[in-house]
């Protein structure tokens, strides 16, 4: 079964420290991968997708097919980055279903 694994439930850092939220996926050709974020009391929203190769709010994520990873990185964490982060991949191109990882809560302390 295709899976998305986020090994860390909680990641705590101080403001200004680098952040890396890990995401690994089970190998299956060319995956379509995303990072979604859920801030406190807000709805889930897209942060970035690998196909766009973009940087959003200072975050980047590179697809590493050799390691089957799509880790989310930010060089200098900010307090407002505190949120729940979910890695996801498309499962089924006729339905665009997403399969999500279990999520990592990022806490950024002042």
């Amino acid at each position: 079964a295709q899976r998305v694994t986020q090994p860390e439930k909680l990641l705590s850092v101080f403001k200004g420290a680098p952040v890396e939220l890990k995401c690994n996926y089970s190998y299956s050709g060319s995956p379509e991968l995303f990072w979604y974020v859920q801030y406190s009391r807000q709805r889930l929203q897209l942060l970035l997708r690998h196909i766009s190769r973009e940087s959003i709010k200072g975050f980047t994520a590179d697809l590493n097919k050799g390691e089957t990873s799509f880790h989310l990185k930010k060089p200098f964490a900010q307090e407002e980055d505190s949120a729940m982060y979910y890695c996801a991949r498309i499962l089924g191109y006729n339905t665009d279903k997403l399969i999500f990882g279990t999520g990592t809560r990022l806490q950024v302390f002042p």
């Binding site: 986020q6 889930l44 997708r49 196909i51 006729n94 339905t95 997403l98 999500f100």
Partner: protein, 114 residues
């Protein structure tokens, strides 16, 4: 545009009661999804729909039914609620055209089954 809305926001049920959660979207999206979010388990797909009049099972469909009678609405029903269905339920929608486009999520419905 209101985007994706969900009704109700909160609900408490007793075991065995039934209820329907309503999801509405005003973006003319073809695809709609229902997820449940549980601590330590992420979001899991319950049912989904690729168009008006069509529905399909997701990862955890047992105990739920859905209907998509109108393109803009996707209903999630619990016929006989169980404590294991205590969760936060999210609806999402997506347009057909580009499969790497994002799903748009509703604000969630917090359901407690006693």
């Amino acid at each position: 545009n209101a985007g994706v809305t969900q009704t109700p926001k909160f609900r408490v049920l007793k075991t065995g009661q039934s209820m329907t959660l309503l999801c509405a979207q005003d973006m003319n999206h073809e695809y709609m999804y229902w997820y449940r979010q549980d601590p330590g388990m992420g979001l899991r797909l319950i049912h989904y729909s690729v168009g008006e009049g069509t529905t399909a099972k997701g990862e955890v469909p047992d105990g739920y039914n859905v209907s998509r009678l109108k393109k803009q609405n996707f209903l999630l029903g619990l016929e006989s609620a169980a404590p294991s269905q205590t969760s936060v339920y999210f609806c999402a929608s997506k347009k057909l055209a580009e499969h790497t486009d994002t799903q748009y999520f509703g604000p969630g419905t917090r359901l407690t089954v006693l």
